[in-house]
Symmetry: C2
């Protein structure tokens, strides 16, 4: 495979003809595939079917503490499910609040709470002149969307191979009083699969924010979602406590990609004033979350060791898909510099960088031929990738044959967009 970058205009035009021919062939297939969202596959949700039997009409539905889970109450969640999350998240049981079916909803609730209520004695964010939020980018579109919804200014932060650019973060957090938060997906980040280094976590936990109401939103969505041997990251809460910063982090996690997406259990963890404020809010907003589903989860998952065995089954399904994507990219583009990619060790995505100015066009071409890919730009604040280069591939949902086909098309589109760009600029 030749490197397009070094081709003459004539060669580029000839190559385009060939690639266009392949593209047209694909278009005629009438594909309908989706690589857009980090959705577990049918095979993966099948793994947890037995969980639907552990609570049935013959069950006692009584928790460890003797609570009838079929009735109101127990706002903070069953003790035994708090224990499981405390093990998974590396925090004390007392620092855990169990939520509903969505950790995203808990993140939204926390931000919504801070918009209308004081934290650390500071005015509610809605009553402050300006609120800025740091968004390591590329990142998770739904994180950014929450901030945008509440009218904050989103500040993109460059992601390095070991986490967000900490020089930039420190500079902003420690000097700008309007900077109130940062989004972090510390392990197998969405979309790059980056694992935060010890140094990055140490620097985050020892921040000296200018704003007393600055918080780290630590969305550990993929904490047990390994594709290879598990990677351990530093414990953010422990590090923060060491530095007298116990109120800095708010941690989130869920079983969405462990059992059933949308029918799982979520949790947050925090300390001190955060906990007081959030418990107050949750006590106003509900009498309690779904304890039957909490009981179902704990009786099925049992404990962290057993949960990790369950995650191995997910890994066995996911790994061949990720390997396929990476090996196809490698084979096709090893010597062709029109695309770069990250090779994740966990999580749900493969992040690629096509030639600057080509990402939207690649997504459009794919769509026209029946393959849906996450919108280009979606991984950046306001949906705007300054280089129009990053594309998030989500290989989990399609089966491996479909994925193979979708990748073939994707690679053709990458080439086609690059060829157009190169021909155009090569006048």
């Amino acid at each position: 495979m030749k490197n397009y970058i070094n081709m003459s205009k004539k060669e580029l035009i000839e190559e385009k003809e060939k690639v266009m021919h392949e593209y047209q062939k694909f278009k005629s297939l009438g594909l309908k595939l989706d690589m857009s969202r980090g959705k577990p596959s049918k095979e993966q949700v099948n793994l947890s079917m037995d969980m639907l039997d552990v609570i049935n009409s013959k069950s006692d539905c009584i928790s460890q503490d003797g609570i009838d889970c079929r009735n109101y109450g127990i706002l903070e969640g069953l003790r035994e499910i708090r224990k499981l999350f405390s093990d998974m998240m590396g925090v004390n049981e007392d620092d855990i609040i169990i939520g509903g079916n969505s950790s995203l909803n808990m993140m939204f609730d926390v931000i919504s709470c801070f918009m209308t209520h004081e934290i650390s004695g500071e005015k509610p964010w809605l009553k402050q002149e300006k609120i800025k939020f740091l968004c390591p980018s590329p990142g998770y579109d739904r994180h950014f969307a929450i901030c945008e919804y509440f009218g904050m200014e989103l500040i993109p932060i460059k992601m390095n191979s070991d986490g967000p650019d900490m020089n930039k973060v420190e500079n902003l957090v420690e000097n700008d009083i309007t900077v109130k938060g940062i989004w972090c997906v510390p392990k197998y980040s969405n979309p790059q699969g980056i694992v935060y280094s010890d140094e990055v976590i140490k620097r985050l936990s020892s921040l000296k924010p200018k704003a007393k109401d600055f918080r780290i939103f630590w969305d550990n969505a993929y904490c047990v979602h390994d594709l290879e041997e598990s990677v351990e990251i530093l414990n953010i809460m422990d590090e923060c406590v060491k530095n007298g910063n116990e109120e800095l982090p708010i941690l989130f996690s869920s079983t969405s990609k462990i059992t059933f997406p949308g029918a799982g259990i979520s949790a947050l963890a925090c300390r001190g004033n955060n906990m007081d404020i959030l418990k107050k809010r949750f006590s106003m907003q509900t009498i309690g979350y779904d304890k039957i589903n909490q009981l179902r989860h704990i009786r099925y998952l049992k404990n962290l060791d057993n949960l990790k065995l369950h995650m191995l089954k997910h890994r066995n399904i996911l790994k061949p898909k990720f390997e396929l994507v990476i090996s196809k990219l490698r084979k096709e583009f090893e010597e062709n510099e029109i695309i770069k990619w990250d090779t994740p060790k966990g999580g749900y995505f493969v992040s690629v960088y096509v030639m600057n100015g080509c990402a939207k066009e690649v997504v459009r071409l794919c769509k026209e031929a029946g393959v849906i890919i996450t919108n280009a730009g979606a991984t950046y604040p306001y949906g705007k990738d300054p280089f129009d280069s990053n594309i998030r591939l989500a290989p989990s949902y399609p089966d491996i044959k479909e994925l193979d086909k979708a990748m073939d098309l994707f690679m053709i589109c990458v080439k086609l967009a690059a060829l157009n760009k190169l021909i155009e600029s090569n006048v």
Copy 2:
């Protein structure tokens, strides 16, 4: 039974001695009973146990529209569960959003949304100088608590036998631009069991609010929770539409007291700008609610007719408890004017009025002898009953023997508090 009101001081003192003796006897029993919250009993939650079998490891988990309920998506809820709620709430399917396990949470979310975002082109409530909320009283403490949490001024509105005092409501809503909402539990109100009359509903639906962002919060919590033949109330949405007021009402309901409290399904219904604003918010806060539980509910409850048959079973359990409470009150106090009560035809409460200035004392006396009753005042804004007279009894949770005992104690405490008051004022 003599009427304490007409007794001489000597007679009162003699009577007190007798009643005190009975009270002491009760105290020595070491009771531990709870009549404080509208919680279904164990017998009632047992009614829905078969629901726990309808989704199991052999189930397809596929909705009517072909959606795999074990995966992400479908923010507004499954079509078939929306249909059920639309039948139950008397609105179009398109006007329904299905929520999580708690309609209280949906009410909180709506108010939280209006605090931070524009409705009908008006500034977010948090950015307005002052926000007042009308609170028909006695009413539901958790409604009032939400408003208090957000710093609103709560305006108590007298409840008449057919609903809130509409002269007062019209006067305030139509002349005061800071009045932004009213709480309504239109059928079997909490705690009085009052059913709103056609006239009250017509007047509510034809309000001409001074504030464009005034809304009616219509919590139809007990719409199918009859203790006798079902009472039909006017359809608030239809009436509002007739009056060009389709954006006035936001309706709420849930299956909490139909299947499992805390593990049920909630819904809201609204139109126009309300729907746009709330859909936007919900789309930011979650990818979707628990569809497996939605599927479980619809496969078990099937349709409104079947749901009503299910409610008959609840009625058969609840009715003897309510009859016991009322018959005991009648027997003991028919001629003794120290207490009055409402006789509900549905819902979860019996509301009583003890002598002014006695409610707190009655609750305290009960507590001291081991029976927990809803805090006196809880049914009023800020927890302050201006007459210290209303007490909410919740007969659903204890079994009938316990209830019988708890009522005996309660009646003794009512007498004791009244005797003290009368002796004191009869110097």
